[in-house]
């Protein structure tokens, strides 16, 4: 007889001691590891307790435990001393924030522009969807032309709507889209020009870039809207929105050129030489070898300048163009909705809209970076 005891089942592992796993351990490791950590954690908690309830109370409507007046409320509710954000005012003036002074009977035109834009940009942004080339041509070339005629009218029996009547989110999106779409090719050409061996092209590009980078956008807009008309013969006027568009585009293309140049310089010399040794012409080697790699390197930088551009569009309000921020500012003097929180609610709303767009852009760029990552990163 031989004793043999073979345990057929493994002993269940005992649970880790509470202070090495689970939420308590996590908190100890991350929040209370050292006395100074503990102090900071407690301070942060106190700060949150101090800050969050008033903010929550200000923003949330009654049925969620706050003081805000939800959409559909009346101005009398907003005029109460204890009232929070007056969302009723935002919803009542929403058409103004979106369309500005665009005639109400013609709202279908900007709506169509928004819808078309969404219809084209969504498949363009999803890599799996086919027909990228057609899609891109539609979005970058055909779409702006359609937009212009739709919004401006005067063709196909549509009533003309001068640009002074465009406003709100519509103008913010127009300025940023035009700025983004036009500044990519100009910026790339400027960056290539700056690297060029042809002295005249190189000098011109450097002068252009340095000139535009050295002046603040606000100055550019002021020059375009205040000084430029004074130096033109009387009677010839260039549309105010167009002037701002040109200013914003040139400004952002100078910045973009420097971002792209960073990408070009990051490429090893061997890539250029390899392209040449294949017998590719300058443009072919740029198009097939250099730019695809260079641009991939600088996606964060490019998106960064787009986000900056999107936010900078709010500067056009100082030259009297009714972008989103300016409509909010103008409406905050609306006597029919005058209440203690009117202005704050308006700015809060504008801030939220800007945040949504910028955050979406930033998330998309991160996702794009991961997708295009070919493993060259260290």
């Amino acid at each position: 007889m031989s004793f043999s005891f073979v345990r057929e089942q493994m002993v269940d592992p005992a649970p880790a001691p509470v202070n090495t796993a689970g939420p308590i351990a996590w908190a100890r490791r991350n929040l209370f590891a050292t006395p100074s950590d503990s102090l900071l954690t407690i301070l942060a908690i106190v700060l949150l307790i101090w800050a969050i309830p008033p903010i929550y109370g200000f923003v949330m409507p009654n049925f969620l435990g706050g003081d805000a007046v939800p959409p559909g409320g009346t101005v009398e509710q907003c005029r109460v001393e204890t009232a929070g954000a007056c969302w009723a005012y935002i919803s009542a003036r929403m058409t103004f924030f979106i369309y500005g002074f665009y005639p109400a009977a013609e709202y279908w035109r900007p709506n169509l522009v928004f819808a078309l834009g969404a219809l084209l940009i969504v498949p363009l942004a999803i890599p799996r969807v086919p027909f990228k080339r057609t899609n891109a041509i539609l979005f970058f070339v055909v779409y702006p032309v359609i937009c212009f005629y739709l919004l401006n009218g005067g063709v196909l029996g549509m009533r003309p709507v001068p640009t002074e009547q465009w406003g709100g989110l519509l103008v913010t999106l127009i300025i940023s889209l035009v700025g983004i779409i036009c500044s990519i090719p100009i910026g790339i050409l400027l960056a290539l020009g700056r690297q060029s061996k042809l002295p005249i092209i190189k000098t011109l590009c450097i002068m252009f870039i340095e000139l535009w980078r050295a002046v603040p956008l606000i100055t550019v807009l002021f020059m375009a809207s205040v000084m430029l008309p004074l130096f033109m013969p009387q009677g010839t006027t260039v549309d105010k929105l167009l002037r701002a568009l040109v200013g914003v585009t040139l400004f952002s293309s100078a910045y973009l050129a420097e971002v792209v140049r960073g990408g070009l310089q990051a490429l090893p010399r061997g890539q250029y030489e390899a392209a040449s040794s294949l017998g590719l012409s300058y443009w072919k080697s740029m198009w097939f070898i250099i730019l695809p790699q260079a641009l991939k390197h600088v996606i964060p930088g490019i998106v960064n300048s787009f986000i900056a551009l999107f936010k900078d569009t709010s500067l056009v309000s100082i030259v009297g163009i009714f972008d989103l921020l300016n409509t909010v500012q103008a409406a905050s003097s609306d006597i029919d909705w005058s209440s203690p929180t009117q202005a704050i609610t308006g700015y809060l709303f504008a801030g939220m809209v800007f945040w949504v767009f910028c955050f979406a852009m930033s998330r998309y760029s991160i996702w794009m970076e991961r997708r295009l990552d070919t493993g060259h990163k260290g």
Binding site: A92, Q234, S317, I318, A330, S333, A343
Partner: protein, 340 residues
Amino acid sequence: MQMQKALVSIAIAASLGLGATAAQAATLDDVKAKGYIQCGVTGGVPGFSAPDANNNWSGLEVDFCRAVAAAIFDDAEAVRYTPLTSQERFAALSAGEIDILSRTTTWTMSRDTDLGIMFAGTMYYDGQGFMVRKADGIASALDLSGAAICIESGTTTELNAADYFETNGMDYQPVVFTDQDEVVKAFEDGRCDVYTTDSSALAAERSKFGNPDDYAILPEIISKEPLGPSVRQGDEQWFYINRWTYYALLEAEELGVTSANVDEMLGSDNPAIKRLLGVEGDFGTPIGLTADWAYRIIKHVGNYGESYAKHVGPETDIGLERGLNALWTDGGLQYSMPIR
């Protein structure tokens, strides 16, 4: 500010030099050719020019542009609006981007003579005033000695207040902010006893407070701020159209002609009304308009009193009494030259 002003002046002078070679086209012909008036307005001053609930421009000063459009086109809507900042406004007018500047602009000598513009009239006699809390029991600005006063910095408001307190041998403590909203907030929060700015703005801001009735606007007005529309120098015809549009608005109120009764008034026996409405005599043709120019204005826009009551009067939320802006027959300053 001074620097900016100098720059704009230089630029305007330069443009006038350049423009002098080009013939000064008649604004009226240009306006008729394009079919609308381009009117420079504020970016939103309640009661004067601001977007209304239907996203259309409305206000006392907007009504002036509509009146000119009505006189020319028989259509008060033939106006396009250009919102302008205070820095842009004179350049925009000089450069011909707008035909009329109707943007809460104070009529001063240097602007009238030096900037290449002419003021056509005074749509609103404004002036700087003081607002206090009723609980403080202050009845006159002369009781304000030692008060803390909330002021927007870098404005004429600040200088006017300093002048006023010095002249009256009182001292005060300025609490200065760079932004109108901040000033109002500080006053509401009790960081100062008095809030001072133009009296029309005082009234508009008061309507925003939680309890407007807790605040009082003192009777003293310490500065003159006549706000009126202006046009480019060098085009008398256009200037006369604007000036007499303004007078027609006043004359109509004085004669009791309103947008509601103007058609009945066509049959009036009063010779002054007959002249105003073009039933007798033709005063429109000499300024390039038709005989019924004033009839059109009153029909489409109404008289001065109607516009005032609709946009800034006691019935509105702004609630400004007529005061200086009453007709001369009621003890105010609004006085029309006779139309004859």
